[in-house]
Symmetry: D2
Subunit: 220 residues, 4 copies
């Protein structure tokens, strides 16, 4: 039975929890239909180490699909990332105290990789199910983008990993209580969103399905 | 058994639903403890008419507590309004096509009324229960503020209406799907929030409880 | 020759300058036409003390018009305040270390006073001169609103002060350099804006001019 | 004398002007020191055609440096773009009515190119001169990013074009008057900013200068 790897992150930036891990851990041991089994893992919020953890998980589980989830404090939508870029530029230190500035993630690697998730099908199915969602053109330059780039660089040389990508999610309401004015999303909505992300990714056939022409770009 | 009146609004501004009514209608026929019964009603999103509807409801039910709920599209928090101002300035027409600009709501009325809800106790209890909340210094100049002013003007001459005020709530997720980037709040969270608003208002004794010194102001 | 009093504030909240004072001090000794002379002053960013300073200036200069200017860090427009409310709720301590929470400014005073500046004429003339401007429904609950309320309370019992109000202005560009993403406005634009505010206030006749029906309200 | 090519765009999205062209046209015929001459041009806001125009200009003028400027309506800072991505996803039609969705700009081209401007030196010098500035991780997916990608793709095979990149600028104040709440920047500030961008790019030696370690990343 093919495997779907889903990762969340450890808390960072003085948060007690990370919503990505809070939702991902709900999926431990789940199956989708009788066709795919799910493996979950928590990644450290640490440059370098997080990619090593991820690559070890990919080597171990040999997933067909891998979706990394991260916290986007302040964003209101499920935020499906389009592209990972080959640079670290940390506004704050990571959980191990490292703060790389303008450092290349993979020396000699390409400037960026596009997600191989079916972005617009994900977007459409989330919205069709009343879950606020959008495509994001930047996953930032912190550990989330770092892991996303590491994931896609691995996928580039491992064709058995057919679909891989990154999704940012809002704060949980309990976190937003400490950030007046910041958007949040309930655990029920997040769990439904993650189920839909996995289901849709499994269903869309990369070689035969027509792409969905749904505009989700930005002017700048 | 004393009555609590809770109102929501009809949809406006091309929305199919109004989250205020969606959550208020869940409370039809409820009691709080064995001490208070709840009456609910939907108000029209129409200048003038909405206040007439509200005053008729207040005359009919003679509530001890009245809480009007409205939609604040784009706000992320449960937004407890501090003050109603004596002016209409409509950016868009109301549901009857009226668009008053700089018109006084009650000629000869004071410039503003403060809410008589226990604002900071409400704020604290919402946050203590993991519900994002804030105090708002403006309810706008549209039908929501209009009704809020009409409510407080009535309370000013009807001392049996001990507690009255207005609370704005975010879009529901299904609405935010049509407003990428806009915050939303799930029905479960909204319902829990409204329960806490009512419970806390009932419990706090206006004549004996010490005010809660919790800063929730803005610099500008 | 009748007097126009214009005040700015001392810097606060760790800023080196306050744009309100930077622009107001440009107007020292100016006249408007041969009809009005200008007096300027800097107010302390301190609850209580600032109103005492302002009232002493009003007693001394007996102005016909008084316009207080304050910094609205983060706002993008010239922000013409509509209403002052009778409450202090300080998110941060003032320059003397005081942080009042939910304290009445004038015990026994009304909940609020409307500005007596010709709001919509000001708005229209600023925009007609290519200066981004808006009406604001809240001056906050900090020292700016505090002074604004103190100003209007004085005007209420001093009919010779025919026009009085408060205007918030954005950061200067040099300040915004320390707040990435925050809007700013150049000194040239601010100076032109303040000239227009004064000129327009002088020209509009409160007893004969028709109000300008320009919508500038908010839904919430 | 080596050439610096600076381009702006035609107005789009119902604007009467484009601030990029308004500022760029001020630089017609200028020299920097006695070392570099400037060529300016306006590009159409049209997918495909704009890149053709740009490539013709690059072939004609053989510049050593090329900086394309575009409007970022709503952004508050001079926004130095870090990376161009190989995708068009248009939220609105361009000036010729085309609205590509998820189309590759250069088939077979890499997913992205990094700017070859000295990003952090530009950022530092702008801020040191009191001009609000930031690094942006996304130039969007509209004609600006399209041209930026076309520029960097050309640079990739034309080593004589030593420095190339894209900078987004805010609305002019006259435009922001029609977008209440939107940030703007004055022509004086924009012109000073563009001078500094050119000067700094000329001065920083790509082969010998140490990179400036100034964090300007985002978490997401």
């Amino acid at each position: 039975m093919p495997t779907i790897l889903i990762t969340g992150f450890a808390p960072f930036n003085q948060e007690a929890i990370n919503p990505s891990w809070e939702v991902v851990k709900q999926f431990e041991g789940r199956q989708f239909g009788n066709t795919h089994q799910i493996q979950i893992a928590q990644l450290a919020c640490e440059f370098g180490h997080a990619i090593k953890q991820l690559h070890a998980l990919l080597d171990l589980h040999q997933p067909e699909i891998a979706i990394c989830i991260g916290q986007a404090g302040g964003r209101a939508d499920i935020s499906i990332e389009r592209i990972a870029i080959n640079i670290d530029d940390a506004r704050i230190p990571d959980n191990a105290g490292a703060q790389p500035i303008d450092e290349t993630i993979v020396v000699g690697g390409p400037a960026a990789y596009f997600s191989s998730l079916p972005l617009k099908a994900l977007l459409k199915n989330l919205r069709d199910n009343s879950i606020p969602a959008n495509i994001s053109q930047t996953a930032g330059t912190y550990v989330c983008n770092h892991v996303f780039y590491g994931l896609m660089h691995y996928a580039n040389t491992h064709p058995n990993l057919k679909r891989a990508g990154f999704v940012h999610i809002p704060y949980l309401p309990s976190q937003a209580c400490h950030h007046p004015g910041a958007a949040s999303m309930s655990m029920e909505t997040l769990e439904k969103a993650l189920s839909l992300l996995v289901e849709t990714t499994v269903k869309v056939n990369p070689s035969s399905d027509l792409p969905i022409k749904l505009s989700a770009g930005t002017i700048c």
